[in-house]
Point group: C2
């Protein structure tokens, strides 16, 4: 799907959603959706608001941001994710699938991919569930933390053997 087809699809999803719920297409809603298209990666209600004001020259109140983020989520356009212990938002399209390596020690997250895993997941067919996307969080230790842990354990063992002398 190319970029303009994609935008058509998104706008359609959004106006369908508005219609079906008897909601109105306000300038604030258009501007917020536009900003979300332009932001790359994760955002918070505050960072979205900042981006709107600073880069798009459009003021939106906090209440409006929160209110509409909920609508975007309901419409399937935005998703909440947990990143290093905090809630973040992201576009739900065009980021449908990713593997995240989450270090349980320092909290850093690295995104990666793997064709075999991807294929296997997308072949998943569950009864009474229509998949639109997925994220795989892999927990463990990043290189730095694993090395640091090893060093500390070694130090500990030396200390213990000295203590025993």
């Amino acid at each position: 799907m190319d970029k303009s087809d994609e935008m058509t699809q998104i706008n359609r999803t959004w106006s369908d959603y508005l219609h079906m719920h008897g909601l109105r297409n306000t300038p604030e809603r258009r501007a917020l959706l536009e900003a979300i298209c332009l932001i790359d990666g994760l955002f918070t209600p505050e960072s979205l608001s900042d981006y709107m004001r600073e880069s798009r020259n459009f003021m939106v109140s906090r209440a409006t941001v929160y209110n509409n983020l909920q609508h975007f989520i309901q419409a399937g356009l935005v998703r909440k994710v947990l990143m290093a212990g905090d809630i973040r938002y992201e576009r739900a399209w065009n980021r449908k699938s990713c593997i995240r390596l989450v270090c349980t020690n320092c909290g850093t997250v690295t995104e990666t991919s793997d064709d075999k895993v991807r294929r296997q997941i997308e072949d998943l067919r569950k009864k009474r569930f229509t998949m639109t996307g997925w994220t795989l969080n892999v927990y463990g230790l990043c290189g730095k933390c694993a090395a640091a842990l090893k060093r500390r354990q070694k130090k500990m063992m030396n200390k213990n053997s000295i203590d025993k002398k």
Copy 2:
């Protein structure tokens, strides 16, 4: 691994962690870890505190709960997860791998499993990353919401064709 081996492993991980960071083994910490072993499923700082007070007859202050949850996370014993838009905590052992079907419309989560997917994920070997567990979130529509959406769309189309007459 049987239950007692598992507890030995957990206690060891925890006391190693305490040692390595120069931390102390207080009654509060022991009681909190014990409670987390006993709680089945997800919890919040508040529900944990309630459980401690009501079922274990042990008062812990909020500050202590938050402080120690961070330590448990660092030690790899507890994990934060996002459930229906809210942050929850869970034991990080014994729940290492699971597939969650998350409905993006109503927020319900169903846990499921799939051997092929599991095997493929556990075969993942990333450079400079040591895997200890994973969770796969699959986003989409649950049976109920998919059906409701279909009904609404149908109704919409009927309405439109009537309007045009």
